[in-house]
């Protein structure tokens, strides 16, 4: 079971990383959120009996954890130091792309927490039906929300 869990985390670390980048503020906060997501996944993995796709389960738990993540200001104290470059900014060689990705994060972070989750799933190429299954909104509601988010983003980008 432990091995299966580790493999799932390793296969999907990119998803956790992206959620962390969208919901965390400081480096410490992102690290804490990353660990919290892994911990919550471990907690719910025992009850995960392949009733849904692994990716659906993983997005559900990771987004739910991010939505209810309480940001703490004094993270430096008692911060778990894990030796790694796990959460360092990805080393993107193309500086223009890196700039655009930073801009992308900036725009998405201006959305509220629920919208952030929906746009993340949209950018990850999930269908409206899948997004509805993960978030709990109806499929038509997801359509409306995505339309509204697109408008918001357009306005932000024009500023």
């Amino acid at each position: 079971m432990e091995k299966d869990f580790i493999n799932i985390i390793k296969d999907n670390e990119g998803i956790i990383y992206k959620i962390t980048m969208l919901y965390g503020d400081s480096k410490e906060d992102k690290e804490d959120l990353y660990q919290e997501i892994v911990f919550q996944l471990w907690k719910s993995f025992k009850n995960f009996k392949n009733q849904s796709k692994i990716s659906t389960w993983l997005y559900k738990v990771a987004l739910n954890t991010a939505l209810t993540h309480i940001k703490k200001e004094k993270k430096k104290i008692n911060q778990i130091s894990f030796d790694s470059s796990l959460l360092q900014v990805m080393d993107i060689k193309d500086s223009q792309l890196e700039e655009q990705i930073q801009l992308l994060y900036k725009h998405i972070k201006q959305l509220n927490s629920v919208e952030r989750g929906i746009i993340l799933l949209f950018l990850e190429n999930h269908s409206h039906k899948e997004i509805a299954a993960i978030t709990g909104f109806s499929t038509s509601n997801i359509g409306t929300r995505i339309g509204r988010i697109k408008e918001k983003l357009k306005t932000q980008m024009l500023k």
Binding site: E2, F5, I6, I9, K10, E13, G14, Y17, K18, Y34, Q35, E36, V38, F39, Q40, W42, K43, S44, F45, N47, F48, W57, K60, V61, L63, N64, L67, T68, N78, I80, F82, S84, S85, L86, M90, I92, L97, Q100, I101, L103, L104, H107, N112, S113, V114, E115, G117, L123, E124, I134, T135, G136, F137, T144, R145, R148, K150, L153, K154, M157
Partner: protein, 199 residues
């Protein structure tokens, strides 16, 4: 940057992340273990220590309750015991309920609704705690003075008033601090609620 470009960049980002995977087996296990320990230490230990102190003092109070020989001291004793037994149990329950949220089978909407409901409960409990503190403010000195030193503090009201005055000022600032912190949390909850209600 338009939305198509945004999607295109997101895909490029995903490809970069895939190429740079860095997590190891040990790291996953360490994170899970450390997080578990941190949670246990961060929540359980202070709460349990607080609970044990309250229950021990209450047990001592019950064993010596017969020393409270007037009706008003007995009334103080009952309020003192209620504050030390009932309120800590309510607080402990609400905090554990908040931490119990299991996100495995719930959708984001359900999790948020659940979370908001439990947060409201915590806020309610905080208000109860403020009442409990007020009870303790007025009852601690009379009960303790009688049980520990066999002195009826009501016969020396100056000391009681001094104690209530000093502790009252401290409690006032402490409660104000707690309420400000709660207001901050409520603001966040409000934003989440609004997100859910937009259709």
């Amino acid at each position: 940057m338009d939305l198509d470009k945004m999607k295109d960049n997101w895909e490029k980002l995903s490809n970069e992340i895939e190429k740079q995977k860095s997590i190891t087996d040990k790291l996953v296990l360490d994170m899970t273990k450390e997080k578990y320990n941190k949670k246990m230490n961060g929540i359980l230990i202070p709460e349990l220590i607080g609970g044990i102190i309250c229950f021990s003092v209450a047990a001592y109070g019950i064993l010596n309750f017969d020393k409270l020989d007037t009706w008003y001291l007995q009334l103080c004793g009952v309020l003192f015991l209620v504050s030390l037994i009932i309120f800590p149990i309510i607080v402990l329950r609400s905090i554990f309920n908040l931490k119990k949220i299991s996100s495995g089978n719930l959708t984001s909407r359900e999790t948020l609704e659940n979370f908001i409901e439990k947060k409201k409960n915590v806020i309610f409990v905080q208000k109860i705690t403020a009442v409990s503190n007020a009870f303790l403010l007025f009852t601690t000195l009379p009960v303790c003075a009688k049980i520990l030193n066999d002195k009826n503090i009501f016969l020396k009201p100056t000391k009681l008033l001094l104690f209530v005055g000093i502790m009252g000022v401290f409690l006032f600032f402490f409660t104000r601090f707690a309420i400000n912190a709660l207001k901050k949390k409520t603001k966040n909850m409000q934003e989440l609620l609004e997100s859910l209600e937009v259709s």
